[in-house]
Symmetry: C2
Subunit: 191 residues, 2 copies
DNA sequence: GTTCAAAGTGACACTAGTGTCACTAAAAAT
DNA sequence: ATTTTTAGTGACACTAGTGTCACTTTGAAC
């Protein structure tokens, strides 16, 4: 086995996540990462040829973790129950939103490993989207969702809610309950 | 007046906008800007000490333009009319969303001119927020908005809708109409 | 204890950006 | 035509990052 490693993949990915969530893709550098991990920059190149490769591996890792949690969600209730569980889940995994946005920023023209990861990330994304589509379809089968609203919009609006800045520090509980209320029944009182 | 300028502020801001919308704050460089404007990098330093200063001036310019348009909106109708006009307006000005996000990314510890601009941008932001708050208050006075929903959330959800990716290229018209429908009445049919 | 394979290092050459400044160019004022 | 004033230039020194590689370190296997 030879020499012991000074850092695990988990440590590396955790540090990467923190850097990316805080400052975004561009601000991520091997230098900063190396200093967080207390190793020399050169040692990271033993495992990743460059930044794009490292980040694409990180995204695979995060995506796997996320999908694993996602699949554990209870799929037995009716539409509204499952929809509310989904929103709770999205808020539990709130920084996943920032992580997923990074996928778009990986440039083309890199190594095969990166291209490979990008393709697999896309497949994962489609897989997840299909499951969510299944949830909306359930609502349609129950005949409670307005027929003319596009599925893509309903999912988009749902996911986008986690990016709304809560400047006034309204409690998480009230915040989430209000989001559910608006998405499901709208902001206006019933006449 | 001496020698003629090779580029106007408008040209400079337009090029800046394009670069920032396409690639974000970090990717903006004096080198690229200079090459778009067909001047030497050095000449831009005649007007702006550095990137932060240039971008903060650009944001002032954009914000002024945006607020000017905003103030022209018809404020005479009832809540629902004005709200729908607001959403139409937001989509007309859709890249303003990306522009506003840049404000957060200007670092601290720069020149006084930058600090000054940041403060004024904040004031503008508050000004706009108060007007929007006025709109929500109108809805409350008309007694048609559910009382328990926080104003900040309603505005947040409204503004966030422009960032929803329309991957399936649903027509702008249908997209906006659906957003209005969900925000106002929710995704579920009335029982 | 020797060997050897993998982990880690730090110096090197390179790139792409920054900010400055003495200098040149051009248009307006005299 | 000369002067003045401002616009613009490009070379210079600097910084912060990249990717590489010969070399050192370490721990397990023999």
């Amino acid at each position: 086995m030879a020499r012991e490693r000074k850092f695990t993949d988990d440590q590396l990915f955790q540090a990467t996540k923190q850097m990316i969530i805080q400052d975004g893709y561009e601000a991520f550098t091997f230098s900063k990462l190396a200093s967080i991990l207390n190793v020399s920059r050169g040692s990271i190149y033993k495992y990743y040829e460059n930044k794009d490769e490292l980040i694409s591996e990180f995204l695979m890792y995060e995506m796997n973790r996320f999908l694993h949690e996602f699949h554990k969600l209870d799929k037995s209730g009716d539409f509204q129950t499952q929809f509310e569980l989904l929103i709770d889940f999205i808020f539990e995994q709130s920084n996943m939103h920032q992580v997923l946005e990074i996928i778009q920023q990986i440039p083309a023209n890199t190594t095969k490993r990166v291209e490979n990861n990008k393709n697999r990330l896309n497949e994962y994304h489609i897989d997840m989207y299909q499951q969510l589509q299944g949830l909306i379809d359930l609502g349609r089968k129950e005949n409670i969702i307005k027929n003319h609203l596009p599925t893509a919009l309903l999912l988009g609006m749902t996911f986008q809610t986690i990016a709304i800045p809560n400047h006034f520090n309204i409690s998480q509980e009230e915040w989430i309950a209000s989001i559910k209320e608006v998405l499901i029944h709208g902001m206006l009182k019933k006449e």
